[in-house]
Amino acid sequence: MAYARDLTAIRKLIASHKRWDLVFAVTGVLALMIGVLTFTALFVDMAIDGVPRLSWDFFTNFPSRRAGQAGILSAWVGSCLVMLVTAFFAVPLGVGAGLYLEEYAPKNWVTDIIEINITNLAGVPSIVYGLLALGLFVYQFGFGQSILSAGLTLALLILPVVIVATREAIRSIPIGIREGAYALGATQWQVCKDHIVPYSAAGILTGIIIGMARAIGETAPIITIGALTFIAFLPPSPVTSEPPFLNFEWLTSPFTVMPIQMFNWTSRPEAAFLQNAAAAGFVLVLMTLAMNGFAIWLRYRLRKNIKW
């Protein structure tokens, strides 16, 4: 019976093709597992080496030549101050640029150049931003190896992230909202200020947090501008007890940040310093995980809740 023979042959063929489906699905899961395993190994490795070193003193001590007494006080204070400067510049510039490109920009070659440029900047290695900052901020503008230079550098570095997030958030607002507001006589700026920005705020915030999480872990550009690795003092406090209560001397102060402190400890041969490095790394990973996790959660909620 030729018919039956053909049928079994075809069934065999189908079965063998379906087997490939299974093989690939298993390969895919395995490939994902490599990522999961690496991440788990990294996290556990940091935790085993670092957690015993974590104590109140570790956060309140300056770096020291004796590993047991060394802490990350100047590093985390420096990181916080640098982030303050970064956010101060990156948020208004990024949101403004995103708003311009989505709501105002005419379709012409200038807009094209800006758009292509932002795409390309996202692929520029971070150390090149460090060289830009070294030549421009540190020497040309004379800001020195200061918190201001570092904050500006990181602001430029995360600008594309903030711009892209802003644009995506704005693009998801239906055109009807704008038309409704215009029909009531609102000007373009009123539409942006009262409708576009508030409605896209959560999406923009997601982008800002992801950008800041990236900035807080960046090491190379800050080393390039010449941050010192051993800082045993704090920058002048930004808030003072006398009027005008604000003090901007901290902007020009030398500083160190968490990743640089970790790098410094990693490059020492003594095992005790490597433990410090693991502890600092653990804190750093927890910080970036918390920030990225919050951003992802925010985006998830947004997608679930907003129905135009």
Partner: protein, 305 residues
């Protein structure tokens, strides 16, 4: 008095238009900052490199086989640093491109909804870990494991750095590739299934070719990440210049050299100071070539639906 009332309204209107224009101009300037950044990068790199190349000829820069800018007997052979960069990048891409592509195909064509919902944020977290932490991990976790299999492996080596770098790059490759594949219209898949193709056949012969231009840009981004990666290499591949294409050896890369110089205190304006800008310019040109190649590829393989 109707006349003054209308002129008052006219003045208000004019002020309002002026304010609108001013705001538009301010927003335009914010958008221009990114262009200024690029101009600034090119200006600084070229300016300092020009001074450098007045003292060191380009021919020597490209052909010398030694890199000793900080010694008395100065040699400036960029090929030495480039070999480290290329070797470590090759290792990283040999891991990131196949794994990233497989993960992208799996998540886009095979994975159930739930798996995708968990895996995607997880990959994002993997890409968000600071590179200095990856460097520490490469030096103190991956290298000892590799030494277990191959005891002669030195403590600093390009292999461990490259492997960890590759894992760091996977999320970049997989997320952009997956977005490209998911953008392929459903009707193409349905057509393929209707002809009797399996999932695997549809994925490999229909979806991947249709999304190729997006996948190519994912690869290009992966390459620029690998070439520009700094801290993993500075920590775990050593800072000794070494002309080698063997990943089992330690070698400095272009980026690691810049870090090494920046950590010391070279006086502003010395030749040593200018070398890092020449090295940076080389890096920048390399990524530029990659980006242009990617652009050409995208144009050639662009499929519009």
């Amino acid at each position: 008095m109707p006349l003054t009332a209308s002129s008052k309204r006219l003045a208000q209107r004019r002020a309002r238009i002026l304010k609108e224009r001013a705001i538009e101009a301010v927003l335009f300037l914010a958008a221009l900052v990114s262009v200024f950044t690029t101009v600034g990068i090119v200006y600084i790199l070229v300016k300092e490199s020009v001074v450098f190349f007045q003292q060191v000829s380009i021919v020597r820069f490209l052909t010398d086989t030694q890199w000793t800018p900080l010694f008395d007997d100065q040699h400036f052979g960029i090929i030495v640093l480039l070999s480290g960069t290329l070797t470590s990048s090759a290792v990283a891409l040999a891991i990131a491109i196949p794994l990233g592509t497989i993960i992208a195909i799996y998540l886009s064509e095979f994975a159930p909804f739930k798996v995708r919902e968990i895996a995607k944020p997880f990959l994002e977290l993997l890409g968000g870990v600071p590179t200095i932490v990856y460097g520490f991990f490469a030096l103190l976790f991956v290298t000892p494991i590799l030494q277990w299999f191959y005891p002669e492996l030195p403590g600093f080596n390009l292999l461990a750095a490259g492997i960890v770098m590759g894992i760091m790059i996977i999320p970049y490759v997989s997320s952009i590739s997956e977005d490209a594949m998911r953008a392929v219209p459903m009707s193409l898949r349905e057509g393929s299934y209707a002809l009797g193709a399996t999932r695997f056949q549809t994925a490999v012969k229909v979806v991947v070719p249709a999304a190729f231009s997006g996948i190519a840009s994912a690869y290009i981004l992966g390459i620029s990440r690998a070439v520009g990666e700094t801290m993993i290499l500075a920590v775990s591949a050593g800072m000794q210049p070494n002309l080698t294409f063997n990943p089992l050896e330690p070698a400095a890369t272009i980026t690691a050299f810049i870090v090494q110089v920046a950590l010391g205190d070279l006086p502003h304006g010395s030749v040593g100071y200018q070398t890092i800008f020449a090295a940076g310019l080389t890096l920048m040109l390399f990524t530029l070539v990659c980006n242009i190649a990617g652009h050409v590829l995208r144009k050639r393989f662009r499929e519009a639906y």
